[in-house]
């Protein structure tokens, strides 16, 4: 790492990249970019670049994992060796195993699992470049990929983190704030159901700060939610234009 900045928020209340405390990084979402996958999406949030792809519902593999009354969602969150400063071994780390589990559990509440008994839905997430908040950006992209694959869902799942740096509660932590800040609270939300499907935290927050952080993260989620819906629609606008040509 380079030398540590003395303050993460300057005298004017602006952050290292010039954002206000409650401001998101620019978010770019694209749907249907892996031709082979049944559904796919790509997200850029700050310097994060993440791909999500869905295969299925298809025959469960291995077969004994299948369930009689519902489908099984399998999720693999994986970071490319070149996605971080020091090369990351491509073998799954304990962190990646845990994140795969919490990401899966954040998406399952949105899927009508009972519609596809004895099958499996495979969800693959590849982090091509990491910049803090990869689990949140992954969830945002993964739920778009699921929607793109045509699997019926109760709502899109969207995720965003809030946290605390230099005694200020801020939205959407980037890498430096994540590493040097004093708390990080990732939240995943189904906005139209007001349902929190992922909540984690590390750091140190009192009750008031925690409540502020959760509410700030929810507001962030709602902003990304509209971008998400636009991205999903955009794909069909493209299809329509192609057909008219």
């Amino acid at each position: 790492m380079n030398e540590k900045p003395e303050r993460l928020i300057d005298k004017k209340g602006l952050r290292l990249d010039g954002r206000k405390p409650d401001q998101l990084r620019p978010v770019k979402l694209e749907v249907g970019i892996i031709p082979n996958a049944d559904g796919s999406a790509y997200v850029e949030q700050g310097k994060n670049k993440i791909l999500a792809g869905v295969y299925g519902p298809r025959e469960a593999h291995p077969k004994h994992l299948s369930l009689q009354d519902r489908t099984v969602l399998k999720c693999r969150y994986h970071m490319a060796p070149f996605s971080v400063q020091e090369r990351k071994s491509p073998a799954p780390s304990r962190r990646e195993v845990e994140l795969s589990k919490v990401i899966r559990e954040s998406l399952e509440p949105a899927i009508f699992m009972e519609l596809y008994p004895r099958t499996m839905i495979d969800l693959f997430i590849e982090v091509l470049q990491a910049d803090g908040g990869t689990r949140c950006a992954s969830i945002t992209a993964a739920s778009l990929a699921l929607a793109d694959s045509g699997i019926p869902m109760r709502d899109l799942v969207v995720a965003c983190a809030a946290g605390k740096v230099d005694d200020t509660v801020v939205l959407d932590l980037m890498d430096e704030e994540d590493k040097l800040g004093s708390a990080d609270v990732p939240v995943a939300l189904m906005p139209s159901l007001n349902a929190i499907t992922l909540l984690q935290m590390d750091g140190k927050l009192n009750q008031d700060e925690f409540e502020t952080a959760v509410n700030m993260a929810i507001e962030g989620c709602k902003q990304i939610y509209s971008t998400q819906k636009e991205a999903l629609k955009a794909k069909y606008v493209d299809v329509k234009e192609e057909a008219e040509e």
Binding site: V97, E105, A195, I196, L199, Q200, G203, L205, Q207
Partner: protein, 263 residues
């Protein structure tokens, strides 16, 4: 987790909890009986065994010499590992750690790490070269629900009676001397878990309640009554009000449980 539960039992538990009653007659916010013994394994540098109802967890710690991480050259290292041993439950099998044991280990680890329980700078011997490494090994002996709180409590209790060896540095060589000193401790984090069943939150779910729950939420609380780690699990969801409300309840419950710790 994948164990099957009879539909009739499932419905019974859900209906009871709707009426704010539980299988074993507890209140929704009441823990089962907690029993804590410290120093049960003499060969370990520190140890503790926690019973919460029939859930039984043993933790042993070892302290060894090792190298620090490059990004924290003057801090000791903490490593938490969880073994879901096959004798603890009909659904456990021998083999490498699965996602459940990895998640559990990481939740226990986060509570200790984020509360800054251990004064890791005091574990440094030679910055960038030699530090003490603290291994916390969680051994689940009987699984009857709420492994998170039992493991976290046992791990903290074991660290509280962990001794690190005395040493001296001679010509750049670290020599272990006889005798030992207490591991430097700054905080006493306690983790509190609830399960969401229907629209209700129940504290300290037993195994059958875990089998019917929609989701669970765990919070680690430090001595200053601040939240230092959170983990949501399970395939259901929480409302923002439930999350914030549980934060307040967790602080209360953590205070009660912290009294069991001896320091």
């Amino acid at each position: 987790m994948a164990a099957v539960i009879a539909k009739i039992k499932h419905n019974q538990i859900v209906q009871l909890i709707e009426k704010e009653q539980r299988l074993d007659g507890r209140e929704l916010t009441e823990y089962r009986k907690i029993k804590l013994e410290q120093g049960t394994i003499e060969r370990a540098e520190g140890s503790a065994r926690v019973h919460i109802g029939k859930t039984d967890v043993l933790v042993g710690t070892k302290v060894e010499l090792g190298e620090p991480f490059p990004d924290t050259p003057n801090e000791g290292v903490l490593t938490v590992n969880v073994e879901l041993v096959p004798l603890a439950s009909p659904s456990y099998e021998p083999g490498p750690p699965d996602e459940n044991s990895i998640e559990l280990a990481r939740i226990v680890d986060r509570g200790i790490r984020e509360s800054k329980m251990i004064d890791t700078e005091k574990l440094c011997i030679d910055p960038g070269k030699k530090v003490f490494v603290v291994f916390v090994d969680v051994y689940v002996l009987n699984h009857d629900g709420n492994l998170i709180d039992a493991s976290a409590l046992a791990a903290v209790a074991a660290l509280l009676n962990t001794k690190m060896p005395n040493y001296e540095v001679e010509d750049g060589e670290v020599k272990i001397k006889s005798g030992s000193t207490q591991l430097p401790i700054k905080q006493h984090p306690v983790t509190v878990t609830c399960a969401k069943i229907g629209a209700k939150l129940v504290v300290d779910p037993q195994l059958e309640e875990e089998q019917v729950m929609d989701a669970r939420l765990s919070m680690a609380i430090d001595d200053d009554e601040e939240i230092c780690a959170i983990q949501k699990g399970g395939t259901g969801y929480f409302t923002p009000e439930q999350v914030v409300g549980f934060g307040k309840l967790a602080v209360q419950k953590a205070k009660e449980m912290r009294k069991k710790l001896d320091w």
